[in-house]
Symmetry: C3
């Protein structure tokens, strides 16, 4: 069974951006993505009162290194001034890499 190296990009940001980011993903070359609801604290969300959490979500994209960097650059330019947004990239081995 063949596994192939890909990047796993995770974007954690505010719930209000979900529809916008979904459109961005397709335009930026992501072949698919997964979204999970979350809650948390950090960055601009630190302004929330104790015991309250900003509704956020984590979007994950499997892609090549170039696509991961292109998505990071585009999202940072478009949204990071006005929204809490954390992005990080890890290495994974993927089955059926032709899909990504």
């Amino acid at each position: 069974m063949e596994l192939t190296a890909r990047k796993l990009l995770t974007v954690v940001t505010e719930a209000a951006l979900e529809d916008t980011l979904m459109r961005d993903m397709e335009a930026l070359g992501a072949r698919g993505y997964t979204i999970t609801d979350a809650r948390g604290k950090g960055g601009k969300a630190n302004a929330t009162p104790p015991g309250h959490h900003t509704p956020i979500f984590a979007l994950k994209v499997l892609c090549g290194a170039d696509t991961a960097l292109a998505i990071c650059a585009a999202l940072r330019e478009r949204y990071s001034d006005n929204y809490s947004m954390v992005m990080y990239v890890g290495d994974v081995d993927v089955l059926r890499p032709e899909k990504f």
Copy 2:
């Protein structure tokens, strides 16, 4: 404190497969797993109308490299023809590796 290398296998697939996969995990040697609800787009799920998402889930298993590959091979053979299924494997360091 000792950390030991293990694999973190993630399987993202359709909600309908959850009970089946839980049974598979035990039979295939996974000592434990975590399931998170998600939504997403990609592969066969691309057939869904715009604005709609297939209900999916992400199953995560900490295990050795051999077990990770055995699970990937079994799931691919059993389900990948009929279900959207994405599998990827990453490297992590784990506390108390004797549990996995």
Copy 3:
């Protein structure tokens, strides 16, 4: 665009510990965290009847290697005797590392 290496620490534990862990995170030097609800099986949770799952959550923290180890050590000492708790650490590249 500059990406910088950081650790991604994941703690999977019982829902009852959420408020306690949130307080711990700030005291232990985490600048932010993300929490996702989950369900699963493994360790002490194996005592649950078939078809039932312990409500758990996954807490993720981006931080330096020293902070990751300090958090692991503190949580293991405080909670691992009495709660199901799994911790693992992976490598990621992060945008805007000054935040973590």
